[in-house]
């Protein structure tokens, strides 16, 4: 059971990382135009973002 000393913090850190990543995608407005972003993948070259 001593392995829990490592595993629990590891799982908490991983979970925390996932949450931070999710919040980051939200803050960088990646959900504003889902349909458009899906279509943009098919474009030959993505216009430069300013």
């Amino acid at each position: 059971m001593n392995v829990l000393v490592f595993l629990i913090p590891v799982s908490l850190v991983l979970g925390g990382l996932g949450m931070v990543a999710c919040l980051w995608t939200l803050r960088s407005r990646q959900y504003d135009d889902l349909e458009g972003d899906a279509a943009r993948v098919l474009l030959d070259r993505e216009p430069e973002e300013s």
């Binding site: 829990l4 908490l12 999710c22 279509a39």
Partner: protein, 697 residues
């Protein structure tokens, strides 16, 4: 003559503008639209939003004209949008909900990992440790993530009402408190994961609901924004483009062909035709000369007119009628959404069940702790996860498909009301018909001259004639010139020919022959016949209700095989007829586009306006038809019916699940594991059932 904006103040400052481009559908369109705009020297940045079918452009342009022209050259019809009327593009509430979903979701995952360990047999100190770690995650996560529910419950309670959020908040907080207590006494069962998953599922439902509402709201705003309030003011030192709001009585206003008249006024310069169909339903243009009174909302067809304003802003007849519509709309019977009906039954039921469970167990055992556990289990298990998802999941799926069909729902309850329609009332001009010439009777010689003349003019009648003669070679004409408000003249083989206003309508005059009548004949909009046929097949009575003269209405009704029609109905007649139908308990779908329909649109149970309609008509309707094809309407009715059935099925699913789980919880046999399993499966079932709507056919 040309309208020139002040080049100094507008052109230099960088600005941003939003254009609506409804035809964008694919990746190629994104590249095409952005490419066309960026090719212009004055455009710095262009970014398409495909979901909203809008493009945001920034640069140093004076107005939208060059942008629209550039897009038009690529085959995209674009319209400027009034940005002040647009909903703020940052959806703060939606993003807040997504944040909470993120926090609740990741909290739930971590707690669930620990819970699985407990359920699979962790005991004693390990279990207590896991409980405490769970508490450390769950308590802050729930306090943060479930705040919308507490806020709403508190508002309801302070108004002495009970809404769905009261049992939800109670369940979440009681479960949390109970679990902390269990952890502190080293108890066996803790409900941390249940409190979190409850929060998560309900937040998802709340977010979906928010998205439908926001989509409806921003649709309404976007439509208002399409009516760009600008006018060309004629001043001693030249023309100036000003916001319509700045116009005053007595100002001279220039209206160019194709533009809508911004004020009520009198023509002081220019001769031309006016399209009044949106205001009165008349299908043929009206001739305007100096002295003619014009009203805001009419469209100038061929020649520029200068008007002297007699009423501006809120005093124009257009605005006055729009206000009358708003009044009619306010009087519309309040439709109670299915979700609210369910909540009214559900919330008291849940409370009484929990109360009964608690008192029953307390009387039987005298054990407060035990009784409280049963009450918590009851609250959690009956909590309306599936119910909270039942309606929004279906609404999102259905309105998404409606949008793909080309029908934009403006009202959150439009979907439910569409499902109840049992009669249809249709307007004629602009809704069922568009004016197009019919020229089968021309001989080849006449046809080729007509085409040659028609091509020289931009008048809608000329364009209609040119469009009606696709396979004809234009005759070679010389000295062709357009006589404003009168027609086109030219010389053919050295002799004069003319296409224009005549005794009976539009005439073609050839040397040595009688004038030939080439007046445009109304033709049906695509899908009009399908709409009527589909409605009759479904057993819905259809009524044609028009402000136009009897003869064209009768002809159209016969062409469509419609026994019920009424002509020469003024706006009051239309409104009265709709009110009468409503009084008889009929749930009428009204389709109309003019201001003369606006009252009727507002009085109908549910109403649809084409995108070409006047803003007052669009504002009064629940849905807007984006394309020109009317056959979408029966499909939409069908889809709405399916959606309603799906919602009721979802209620059934949720009820079945409760019927099984409540007795178990009452008996005190419910465990956190059971709650977790039941809650997830019922929610997933409900969502899957809703998604079926999207993939069918």
């Amino acid at each position: 003559m040309t309208a020139v904006a002040d080049p100094h103040s507008l052109a230099e400052t960088p600005r941003t503008m939003v254009l609506s481009v409804p035809d964008m559908r694919c990746a190629g369109c994104i590249a095409g639209v952005e490419g066309a705009l960026k090719a212009l020297p004055e455009v710095a940045e262009a970014r398409v939003n495909l979901g909203d079918k809008q493009v945001r452009v920034s640069g140093t342009f004076a107005d939208a004209t060059p942008l629209i022209a550039a897009l038009d050259a690529k085959g995209f019809a674009a319209r400027e949008m009034d940005e002040t009327a647009l909903a703020p593009s940052v959806d703060a509430e939606g993003r807040g909900l997504l944040m909470r979903i993120g926090v609740a979701g990741f909290g739930m995952m971590n707690v669930m990992i620990l819970s699985v360990a407990i359920w699979s047999g962790a005991s004693d100190i390990t279990r207590d440790l896991f409980h405490w770690i769970s508490a450390a995650i769950a308590v802050p996560a729930v306090i943060y993530a479930a705040r919308p529910f507490y806020a709403s419950a508190l508002t309801a309670l302070s108004a002495r009402r009970v809404n769905m959020d009261v049992p939800i908040s109670l369940a979440i907080l009681l479960a949390l408190g109970m679990s902390v207590h269990e952890a502190s006494v080293g108890g066996e069962d803790a409900w941390f994961d249940a409190a979190l998953s409850l929060t998560l599922f309900l937040l998802i439902g709340r977010y979906l609901d928010h998205r439908t509402r926001r989509a409806a709201r921003s649709a309404a705003a976007a439509l208002t924004a399409l009516e760009v309030p600008r006018a060309t003011l004629v001043e001693a030192d030249g023309d100036r483009v000003v916001p319509t709001a700045e116009l005053a009585i007595g100002d001279h206003v220039r209206v160019v062909p194709g533009a809508r008249v911004p004020v009520d006024g009198e023509v002081i310069e220019g001769v031309g035709d006016l399209d009044r169909s949106l205001l009165t339903g008349e299908s043929l243009p009206v001739h305007a000369v100096p002295g003619t009174d014009v009203a805001a909302g009419e469209t100038v067809i061929d020649a520029p007119l200068v008007l002297r304003a007699t009423a501006v802003g809120e005093d124009t007849s257009l605005r006055r009628m729009a206000r009358a519509v708003a009044v009619a709309e306010g009087a519309r019977g309040k439709h109670v959404a299915l979700a609210d009906q369910a909540a009214r039954i559900y919330a008291p039921l849940v409370h009484s069940l929990a109360a009964i469970g608690f008192t029953g167990w307390f009387i039987a055992t005298g054990d407060v702790h035990r009784s409280l556990l049963v009450a918590v289990a009851l609250l959690i298990i009956t909590c309306p996860c599936a119910l909270g998802l039942a309606v929004p999941a279906v609404s999102v799926a259905a309105s998404g498909r409606m949008f793909k069909l080309g029908l934009l729902l403006k009202s959150a309850t439009a979907l439910e009301r569409l499902a109840q329609v049992d009669a249809i009332v249709l307007d004629k001009t602009g809704t069922l018909t568009t004016g197009v010439a019919k020229l089968d009777h021309l001989d080849p010689e006449a046809a080729s001259v007509a085409l040659g003349l028609a091509r020289a003019s931009d008048h809608p009648v000329s364009r209609a004639i040119a469009a009606a003669l696709p396979d004809v070679r234009a005759a070679e004409l010389s000295s062709v010139r357009e006589v404003s408000g009168d027609g086109v003249e030219g010389r053919w083989k050295g002799r004069p020919v003319r296409l224009g206003r005549g005794a009976r309508g539009t005439e073609l005059v050839l040397p040595g022959r009688d004038p030939i009548d080439v007046s445009p004949v109304e033709t049906l909009r695509p899908g009009a016949a399908d709409l009527v046929a589909a409605a009759q097949r479904a057993g819905l009575p259809v009524l044609l209700l028009s402000g136009d003269r009897t003869e064209p209405v009768r002809r159209l009704a016969e062409a469509l095989n419609l026994p019920d029609w009424r002509a020469e109905a003024d706006p009051q007649d239309k409104l009265a007829l709709l009110r009468e139908q409503a009084a008889q308990g009929r749930k009428v779908l009204m389709v109309g586009d003019g201001l003369n329909d606006a009252g009727a649109l507002a009085a109908a149970h549910v109403s649809i306006a084409p995108a070409t309609a006047l803003d007052a008509a669009r504002a009064a309707s629940d849905a807007v038809l984006l394309g020109g094809d009317l056959s979408v309407i029966p499909q939409a009715l069908d889809l709405a019916g399916q959606a309603r059935r799906r919602i009721l099925q979802n209620f059934g699913l949720a009820a079945t699940y409760n019927a099984i789980s409540i007795p178990i919880a009452m008996a005190g046999l419910a465990t956190p594991l059971m709650a977790a399993a039941a809650m997830s499966t019922s929610s997933i079932l409900v969502v899957l059932n809703a998604i079926r709507l999207k993939v069918r056919r």
